[in-house]
């Protein structure tokens, strides 16, 4: 043992070595970069306009005011209407809830059929679905508009729900197919020997033991659909514009004086739903996006 050492001998030195210091320094700098916008959003939304004009965007508010939040929610203007973001919030909810339910219901049954009840051609359709998910949406937008128009649902909630179901299908189906394929196939066989059919096996045996993947799917869909802009602006119709579209219309409105504090409050309000989901779900969120990244 070294005589110069005055520290207790242990498996691990407690002192921060230069390389450890570099690691933490790197992580800290990165953390600042990622946190800065959130911080700026919050402080800006709590300042009054005079303070914004005088101060700098990074300084904390000298006088905290919640008025921008109230304005953003209740009376911010998009073009001619000044009803605030609340309209968009409720629109987004009206789009979100049925879209999440329908898309997950369809995709979970799909994934189940694909993993346990393969039929001639089922893999072909699945492959088209997966490859199709890489096609830029722009390629399919116009014909979809025509189809919706022919069906008489263009510009309605139904249209936007259908569109979310369609474009959520590849990733969700992949997710459920892989999950069900990883469940012991003997459970499925046992249920068949017991005489259970297609729906009974799904509803009574497999679905009850697949709660985690349903949670992942819900998180994936809630964030994805809430954050959507393109489909909302095209398919939902003006009176159903989701929150993202309204937010953009408020912030990027060309008329009137720019109220940056109201804009930031509105931005936080719009980001709040997925952020809350993210902070609450943590592990599941990571699992969801990892599932999206891993090939089938």
């Amino acid at each position: 043992m070294s005589v110069t050492s005055v520290e207790p001998s242990g498996a691990r030195p407690r002192r921060l070595s230069p390389s450890r210091f570099m690691i933490y320094a790197g992580l800290f700098v990165a953390a600042v970069y990622y946190l800065l916008p959130l911080y700026v959003m919050v402080v800006t939304s709590l300042k009054g306009m005079p303070e914004i004009r005088l101060g700098n965007i990074f300084s904390p508010p000298m006088e905290i005011t919640f008025q921008p939040w109230v304005t953003a929610w209740d009376s911010a203007c998009t073009g001619l209407y000044c009803e605030g973001l609340k309209v968009g919030f409720w629109n987004s909810m009206k789009i979100l809830i049925p879209s999440v339910i329908v898309s997950i219901a369809i995709a979970s049954v799909n994934g189940y059929a694909l993993s346990n009840w393969k039929f001639k051609g089922s893999e072909v359709f699945f492959t088209i679905l997966i490859i199709g998910s890489f096609i830029p949406y722009q390629v399919m937008l116009y014909p979809l508009v025509i189809i919706m128009r022919e069906l008489g649902i263009f510009g309605t909630l139904t249209a936007i729900i259908v569109v979310h179901t369609i474009f959520g299908m590849p990733i969700l189906t992949l997710l459920f197919r892989n999950y069900f394929a990883a469940l012991p196939v003997e459970l499925f066989k046992a249920a068949r020997v017991d005489g259970a059919g297609f729906w009974q096996i799904f509803l009574q045996v497999l679905a009850p033991m697949s709660l985690p993947i349903f949670v992942v799917a819900v998180i994936l869909q809630v964030t994805g659909i809430w954050n959507d802009f393109l489909f909302g602006v095209i398919f939902a119709g003006t009176e159903n514009y989701p929150m993202t579209v309204q937010l953009n219309n408020i912030v990027n409105a060309t008329q009137g004086v720019k109220e940056y504090n109201v804009n930031m409050a509105a931005t936080i309000l719009t980001g709040a739903v997925p952020l809350i989901i993210y902070f609450l779900s943590g592990r599941y969120f990571v699992r969801g996006i990892a599932a999206g990244a891993v090939k089938g």
Partner: protein, 371 residues
Amino acid sequence: MNKHNVSVSVQDLSLSFGTLTILKQLNLDIQEGEFLVLLGPSGCGKSTLLNCIAGLLDITEGRIFIKGKNVTWAEPKDRGIGMVFQSYALYPQMTVERNLSFGLRVSGMDKAEIDKRVARAADILQIQPLLHRKPGQLSGGQRQRVAIGRALVRNVDVFLFDEPLSNLDAQLRAELRVEIKKLHHSLGNTMIYVTHDQIEAMTLADRIAVMKGGVIQQLDAPHEIYNRPVNRFVAGFLGSPAMTFLDGTITAANGGPAVNINGTVVPLGRYGFAGAAPEAGRPVTLGVRPEHIAVGGASPEPEADRRHWVTDKVTLLEPTGADTIVWSELGGLPITVRVDAEKHFHVGEPFAYGLDLTRASLFDKASGDRL
């Protein structure tokens, strides 16, 4: 042949996926109340055959009868079979009671009858105290009983077991093996049991079907399979330590047939040929089980000793506890002999051993078939 006593009949069954043939023209009649074991290495098609009988796989050709009824295309539930899986496949979110009753509930049976049947099965299997537990709270043995119970409540004719003991440790496996055997005695149902474990096969089976490459190699009682394997594959698959195989050629010695193994001539006078004795010059393989070789020198009365004695050296010793496996040579080829652990040998010492040719097997070298 008395058709009434046949429980399961598989006729000309073939299964292939595209160009890949899994099962080839299988024929198999299983008697009422018989315990049949399908034995073979992994990939031999034994589990596939069981799944075909269960109706979980669609066959390509052939027919399957259960109790005289053609069930080739019937749904699994309509075949009168129950199945016990390797993982037991208990529904994890249901209690034992609901696991047992699931099939009956699905079929829409009335509650009173379901309760009666569950109670009876729980009684037979002694799992009444477990009825309200979830599978996750059960031991391996208890899970097996629930899995069997699931077949029992449905009053099935045939029990199918798909390697039910493979996931367990050696001790539990031995215990549960005995339980299955007892259950077969008390229930008397036909049972078809898939395994790759020769001990399970030997101890449980009325008859064993040894499979390889989608073909049944031999279908016979366990002792027949062990003592008179029809080919080199069956001979090598059963027995531990494995049978010793010695390649040689047929010669004539002292008027009778013999096999010449690199110059060492072993007379085959006492060997029971399946047909006519093969002609001289034919390449053959002589198979001898380690436990069919005696040590300790020739009997005082040579004419009473039916063995052929050879003397060589001990090359290696493998003590296993109860026995010791002695490695020696015959005509330069390695041969193993199972001896009592109390007898002491040393590597390099001379070693005399006597081959019992009445219990040996002789195979054609090219085809591997028994001669």
